[in-house]
Amino acid sequence: MSKATLDGAPIAIEDAYQHAAKILGGAKFPVVAGLATDAAGARAAILLAERLRGAYDHLASDQIFNDLDVTRSFGMFITTPAEARARADVVLLVGPGLTEHWPALFERLALGEPARFNDAAPRKILWLGPKRNEAKVEGVEIETIAATPQALPGLLLAIRARVGGRPITLNGAAAKKIDAYAATLKAARFGAVVWSASAIDGLTVEALQGLVTDLNANTRFTGVPIGARGGASGVVQVGGWMTGFPPRTGFGRGYPEHDPWRFDARRLVDSGEADAALWISAHGGEAPAWTRDDVPLITLAPAGAGAARGLYIEVGRPGETHDAVELAQETSSFVLRRATAPSEAPSVAEVIHAISARFSEDVPC
């Protein structure tokens, strides 16, 4: 049995769907936000936003754009974790908290083992700016340079300069370390830089891709991005084929328009431009970032993450309580995740279909 509450008080699920349809169907410019869901959920949510001439955003959009803005301004060199595991003889980790954002990182990239090609020479692992103690991994020798996140772009620029044989302003031990890094990177046969746009900013992503571009002048180098939370990479892909655009896309004029500022859900709600919000957070039950609490709110989140305010409808966890297609970090492709603990809780797609089936007739299809 699926569960629903209205301002914290239980209501029948049928009433919840009806109420949700009334809120969304009656809104002038609703925003479908959070969007932490699987491929089917994202597809249903985007179609809903389009039908209602609202907008869609993702809870990790800031992190998404740290990468995507670099891609669409300059481009990007990327590889899959599987190919990096098989081939990368030099791996440069950049930024703090990488294993928090991807706990399987070391195991998946087999950083303690040699690469399979390039004569199986031992892998060299560098880590620029890890957290304290984070770079102590059993069985893996890591050459670190300590740095705050703010210092990363400058350090990457310095390394890039040394790769290109240009002078830098640093000297002493710091310069020596930079030189050693540059020498290792240049000597790579197939190197990979690993980063998480949830841990570093766009400027750093730009700096590291600039470094990769320069390294490719003489050898092969590429990158392994770690996707943001809430199924962000998959939602970006689904938005891409459905509308041409990633999150922060609106349909006010009857066709998609993408504007990372205008269609930021937090701004839309706080400014009052959006007059209703559907908040989807099926993985962890994260709460919205906006502060305003007088905009009608429908929350789709798993059990235990019920919202005290507004309408709450329980959904299952993708790949846990129901089968789900998600973009897998370990393969960087869409895969089917079979339910590990199947339950009756509906998926986000199912709930959206149930709501959409109850729109009054003046909502066009």
Partner: protein, 545 residues
Amino acid sequence: MLTCLSGGHVVDPVNGTDGVGDVYFEDGRVVARPDGRKPDVTHDVSGHVVMAGAIDIHSHIAGGSVNTARLLLPEAHRAHKARPAATPLSTAGWSTFQTGRLYAQMGYTTVIEPAVSPQHALHAHLELSDIPIIDKAFLTVLGNEPFVLGSFRDNESPNVVQDYIGATLEATRAIGIKCVNAGGVDAFKKNVRAFSLDDVVPEYGLTSREIFQRMQRAVHATGISHPLHLHMNNLGLPGNVETALATIDASQGLRLHLAHVQFYAYGKEGKNGFSSAAAQFAEKINSSPNVTVDVGQVMFADIVTISSDVMKQFNSLPGGRPKKGVILDAEGNGAGVVPYSYRISDFFNAVQWAAGLELFLLTNDPMRVFFTTDHPNGAPFTTYPEVFALLMSADKRAQWLSRLPADVVALTNLPAIKREYTIYEIATMTRAAPRKLYGFEDRGSLGAGSVADVAVYKTNEKDRAEMFRHAAYVFKDGELVVRNGDVARYTRGKTLHVKPEYNKTINKRLDSYYEDLYGLRRGMFRVEDEALPASQVFAEVPCRS
């Protein structure tokens, strides 16, 4: 419901039909004229041309690389028009939804996406299921992965790669096999920057020639209808016609499809060291009956190049328009996405445009020469009507030639070529020929029993482009989906695939290969029913009997 299209000019090369007649269909299939029964619906299509729905054999419409291009270029596909009721996202620029609508409006009812890596098969199917109306399929890309290269290097039995292909087709639900710059994509990972037919892949000791020949034989041995679909070495480079000619010479008399050959029709003559070698190439194609080609016509437009030829795409980065791009080194194969703009004032682009038309006009068998722009690499598929018009009118070509740089005109044979394609030849290259190339038994023809995919164009001899741009009627599986060039609602097409027999013991070996090399369960990449929308319908294309 029995429908009759009455009094149109029926053009159906499969059955040799080229004259006024009626076409009947019922329950989604074309039927012979029924005795003593009145049609439930009759459309008077006099003054119209009636053909089977067109089939596009090579157009990049879906999958990870296409989607990367969409996300790379938000500036390139802004929409300007609200969508009509009942067709969600149909005006969203470059979306899957718009793709289905635009193809249907031109009378295309089957489109094949030519470059999906096996690891991204599910992604491609998810996109295909969001392309309304038309039927679709994809080729999966093989030939640069360590499994194949290792098997060839170790001189294993050819059955190994044949079974590998069978297993991959089954797991991905693809319709055929493409091989891209055979060995060159792997070599690029080892920092090789140029790779030709007789260059050797480091660590494997195999030439590109050996790899493509063995792949060609292995694909043939599976019994699938579509031959190896080959993207040759040296795409886009001056003088690369030599590679193309040598590839044809190496084709062993076995069927071989060469993709987007316009990009290989270049000589080194002239002060820019770049010229059209289309005449020489066309002659070779004419005399090589085992070879089919698609042209990959260039038109002057802003485009984006999407290719699994990672080496070539990397080398294209400095010339990008605008200068940006995504280079993906993936397991075995990969992808590169680099935007570009073909300009009529650009010497090189103008030569490319002319070379494509020369290939169309100097080859003599429309059953072996396919109509493509390698969408979006040479031009968007929406330019097809203009290309048809150019093929059908020497005057029209002369008008365009007058706008080309004079030094280009001097370097091509185009002004001297007076040939004009007939409607019958257009129907051959877009209907009958694709039917044969992919082994379709149910489409590309208006014979009884064919699916009732029918395109009806209002005859317009003055403006052929207009004629082909907006079909007057399009029927998909017998349902009216386009009227006067507009789609009013969506239907759902099918996804076509092949499923040849193969020795299943290969699966065990492939499982351990994935586990050993990538530490992954190979099953993760398999396309399962549970992963697909319930609405996705598959149809199996038969193997050669």
